[in-house]
Structure formats: C-alpha cells, structure tokens
Amino acid sequence: MIKVLFFAKLSEQLGVRELQVDAKNAEDTKQLFTHLLNHKTEWASILTSQPCLKAVNQAMVANDVPLKDGDEVAYFPPVTGG
C-alpha cells in the first residue's frame, strides 16, 4: 500500500488527512494523482484548482517519480511557516 497524506487547506477541503492506496494503482506519482482525482466527485476540482506540492518519503519532489509498496506520499499547499 501507499500511504497518502494531505495537509492544511487541502486536507480540510478533501475532508481527509490520510488515505491508503493500493500500490498497483500508484506505480508512480503521476498514476497516484490520477487515481486521487477520481477518488470522489469533488476531488478533481479541489486538487487541480490550486497550487499543490508533493513530497515522497518526506522529501519534496518537483517532477513525477516511481513509487513502491510502503512509500509515503504527501500533498500540501505552498508552505507558510516562519
């Protein structure tokens, strides 16, 4: 399984903080994202209407990367700490 996390505004809008996705639906981050777009009716518009960053195993990645069983993928808005 792939552990998927959402943070901040994104998690509030999607109504979920964590999700398990079968690794066969997520061979890479691109396939995972497509899977999430179809997870619930409103998810496509939420996930594509705003800047959305991603981290794989707790490191931000700019492009799509391959995934394997046990990986952790997080989606979140641009950061605003400090």
């Binding site: 996390l5 943070f7 901040a8 505004k9 509030e12 800047p51 981290a55 707790q58 490191a59 931000m60 997080a74 979140f76 808005p77 641009p78 950061v79 605003t80 700490g81 400090g82």
Partner: protein, 149 residues
C-alpha cells in the same frame, strides 16, 4: 539543535546556549513574532500545522546546506506549532560563528529556506472570527534568488 515544539522559548536561554565556547566572536539571532496585521487584516489568533517527521528532516537539510557555505560553530532552530496569539514567538534561528559575515548570512539563509521549504502552514483567525489559511508570498520565493549565485 533543531526543535519543533508547542512550548514557548526563551531568548536568554537560547543565546546563552549559543555562547558556549571562547572561539565565538559573533552571534546573530532571528525571532519571528505573530503580528497583529497580515495583508491589512486584523489578526487575533494563529494556528500552526506541520508535517511531523518531514519538518525535522527538512530543517536538518537546510542547516547542512548552510554549513557547507559558511563557518558555523553552533546553531539553534526552534519552530513552534499549535495555537498562538498576537506577539507570540513563532520561530527562533540563532547562529554562533567566529565572524559576523558567516553568522548573518547563515541565519538569513536558513530563514529564507525555512519560509519556502519547511512544511509548516499558518491559519489565521481574524478579529471578526473568520478563519483563513495564509497564502504563500511571492516575495518569499524571490528572497531565495540572492543565495543562488
């Protein structure tokens, strides 16, 4: 020392910890506070969310980059999470070096990267009770360009 914590921190305690060896000639500290006005609106409270695990890794990585560029004898990064209010301390970055140039540069570099890369998110409560996730500022991205030469 890197710490992500709900507890407040103390300027003197952190300063004294950085001032630990006689090799140190310069200490620069940065403290970020909750301002009462953000983007022209009165703020009453602030909630800080983060990504446990990634946050600490990310801060460690930023410090390593700073250590490769400048001579740092000791450093402290403290970032608070949870519920904060006006004038509360949010973040502390302290650098101890032999010379001031290293201390200033490393401290500002760490803050600039923390602002754009460390997974923290602020949610403001306005004076009128409305809540609003803070938007990332274009200006913070731009601040990175001075380190990329």
């Amino acid at each position: 020392m890197i710490s992500v914590q709900e507890l407040d921190f103390n300027q003197q305690v952190e300063y004294d910890r950085l001032k630990s060896t006689t090799k140190i000639g310069a200490i620069v500290t940065f403290t970020g506070l909750v301002r009462d006005i953000n983007e022209g609106q009165g703020v009453s409270d602030l909630a800080l969310e983060h990504y446990p695990g990634m946050t600490e890794k990310c801060l460690q990585d930023i410090v390593q980059q700073a250590q490769q560029r400048w001579n740092i004898i000791d450093f402290t990064i403290i970032h608070r999470v949870g519920q904060l209010t006006i004038s509360d301390q949010i973040v502390f970055v302290g650098i101890a070096s032999q010379h001031r140039g290293d201390a200033f540069a490393a401290c500002e570099f760490i803050m600039d990267y923390l602002k754009t890369q460390a997974p923290f998110w602020k949610k403001e409560t306005m004076a009128n009770g409305e809540t609003k996730w803070v938007d990332a500022r274009e200006h913070d991205q731009h601040a990175l360009t001075k380190w990329q030469s």
